[in-house]
Symmetry: C2
Subunit: 421 residues, 2 copies
């Protein structure tokens, strides 16, 4: 990869030199979940703001294209407002006079199965595409309703994105890659839109997933998919080991934790998991810093540069174990009141801590907080929503900051987790 | 109007002559109702097929723009399939190298109120617009849901249409026209998207509808609106007389009967009611022949040429009064069976009659039929749906051909209608 790092620092500024002319620059992102909480008075615009940041990064880095790994939308039937915002942003950033210097080599009617006019958008003479977007669908924006149409089909029919990776025959999967060339770099991009995990897992085990390699050994083979990767149940995920070893890089969508720096599997495949660009749950994985990736591919080498997202709200997750009323040191006569005071103090600390995560004026200022509070006795319980509301105006999610559980439940869960490991 | 007819026959073929250079050619259509019955196995594609015919007529006639009078969509939240089909067709016909030779003179931020980037589509350097579309919304595609967004906003955000005529202040209506110029012809296009009829009627009566005339007397003033025109209730419609007399032409959407040849009101305003391009009910008004209009405007003269739609299914409506079992001539012992035979024969005749309305290979072959059957005695009743099903494969709507009513009800209704006149 030293080769690429060189181009990055030394040569990228010189336009037209042979190295940058051979380097594919791809902006990689997944799970943008447009429209998530769009009706929320505080968080309503979050997904659109961050999508705009992603498109700005693509522009700034002059990428050859954007690759999205599914769940661009939070709902398969988004509101008209949500679709409108998405189209507006795509139109604003993806149309321009910037020339597109990637050559499309494969059969477009096979790559863009769901489109009645299967043509890659930047070859349409009526559209001035500056940055092509390629996207698979996820489980949130999969085909739905009459004639099983995805909202990505809606976008694709305008020519603002290229929707690929659709596959409907669940007895046998055949993936014909999009073949792209820039200078001496040849990319085979295998897309597989979301399929029910259990079904796809079985197809992998039964060797019924066929990735059709193009002729020649000089291709950079990259797979993008949108599936469970973490073991959530015995057969309900795709193990890393299922990925065929000729794959040079995998972009794994669906998992919201950012693990964008590629991990190497036992069969030596590199897997990058960009993670979501918005927290759609208050789970710990979502509190990791959010990044998208600038992927540079030169011939068969690559480097993935994480780009931290600056518009994303800080999200802090923490826990508080209340004092045990049975312990010797306990000396409150009003256990509930004592608990409330402890909780309020903790939340105030978290709000302070969130300030240290401030990335600048583009960031939404109010943080997301999740405090898990564990009590020993029923007397320590309190109205969690009311206490949360006390922090209205200082926190983005006052109505669900606190999660109240008994300490016994925590211990049980811990043991259970240990068993699973 | 003789002037225009001349240009039509003699000069239109000579490109660039002064007369055709001054003549605005506008394709006018309303109430296309995309997605109506889209799940129906027989009629599902009807609205899309006819929309394509309309766009083909626009192309063939090399119009300067298309003007739509609302209800482009049947539902305010159309299925992804429906939006996709619409976008595909707009992209196919409205993008091209054909130059647009109309100049936009008014303030776009005032004309395109609902768009964050208010720009007429053909001035966007990134889109190759050949035929601009201008549309108001109707009551079927009005703003809805989160942030009150119309599906027309979705289309407009792609740049495939120009959505105008939105007005939200219901205490006072102010219409600032789109000002367009082609050669010596200056068009002031006043758009008013659908407003609740009762409310708008009151605003007209209270002189709170202000149409802002541009400076100068050389404008052709044209209003497009989408309201009840027929008296459906005391205050539930806009009377023709409400239209200010400086208006040269009104395009009236919402009413589905085709009355496209302009009618002159008592205050000498000409009103053209194009009617729907698909029958959304089996009422007699929908059985009139369906047309769109080719409107030619030269300076302050105009001509509206009806263009019959050839893809629309034939729709025949008729009635059958069964024989009265009490009459002397009646001699059946099985009144229900006798009725069924009479009805079947009548429907067979209608099917034959429909064949004479065949316009050519682009027309959907199976006709829509509505037969109103009136009986005298309960004994004459039969299962209307089952008889309809007998014509499956020969009729587009076998499940609702027949409407069964007692003859007494018919007489009552007739008297009632007379009273209303
Ligand atoms: Mn997701
Ligand atoms: Mn997902
Ligand atoms: Mn209508
Ligand atoms: Mn209407």
């Amino acid at each position: 990869m030293s080769h690429l790092e060189e181009t990055d620092t030394e040569n990228d500024s010189e336009a037209g030199n042979s190295l940058s002319g051979d380097t594919l620059k791809i902006l990689v992102a997944t799970d943008i979940h447009l429209g998530y909480k769009e009706k929320d008075a505080i968080r309503g615009e979050d997904t659109f703001v961050t999508f705009e940041e992603i498109l700005q990064q693509a522009t700034k880095n002059e990428v050859d294209f954007i690759l999205l790994g599914g769940d661009l939308f939070h709902e398969s039937k988004p509101s008209p407002y949500c679709i409108q915002r998405c189209l507006e942003l795509l139109r604003k950033y993806c149309l321009s006079d910037k020339p597109v210097s990637i050559e499309f080599l494969s059969d477009q009617s096979r790559n863009f199965l769901s489109q009645r006019v299967p043509i890659v958008n930047y070859e349409d003479p009526n559209l001035n595409i500056g940055i092509p977007v390629f996207s698979i669908h996820g489980n949130h924006d999969d085909p739905t309703g009459h004639k099983q149409t995805s909202v990505l089909d809606v976008l694709a029919s305008t020519g603002l994105i290229n929707y690929f990776g659709l596959w409907n025959d669940l007895s046998n999967v055949e993936i014909r890659p999009i073949l792209l060339q820039k200078g001496k770099t040849k990319l085979a991009l295998y897309g597989l839109s979301h399929i029910k995990d259990e079904r796809l897992g079985r197809l992998f085990r039964e060797k019924k997933v066929h990735l059709k390699k193009p002729d020649g050994n000089d291709w950079f083979n990259m797979l993008v998919l949108h599936q469970n990767r973490a073991a959530r149940g015995v057969k309900n995920f795709i193990p890393d080991s299922a990925i065929p070893d000729f794959m040079d890089l995998v972009i794994w969508g669906h998992e919201h934790d950012c693990k964008i720096v590629p991990e190497v599997t036992e069969n030596r495949v590199q897997i990058s998991q960009p993670g979501s660009s918005v927290a759609t749950s208050l789970a710990s994985g979502e509190s990791l810093s959010k990044n998208i990736g600038l992927l540079k591919v030169c011939k068969q080498e690559f480097v993935m540069i994480p780009l931290p997202l600056k518009t994303v709200r800080p999200f802090l997750i923490d826990e508080l174990i209340l004092e045990n009323p049975l312990s010797n040191s306990y000396h409150s006569e009003k256990p509930s009141e004592q608990a409330v005071n402890q909780v309020k103090e903790k939340i105030s600390q978290m709000i302070e801590e969130a300030k240290s995560k401030y990335t600048g004026p583009n960031q939404a200022p109010l943080p997301l907080l999740r405090l898990k509070v564990f009590y020993y006795s029923e007397q320590q319980q309190f109205n969690a929503v009311r206490i949360g509301m006390h922090f209205g105006g200082r926190v983005a999610n006052p109505d669900d900051i606190i999660k109240l559980n008994s300490f016994t439940a925590k211990e049980r869960k811990k043991n259970c987790n240990l068993n699973l490991d």
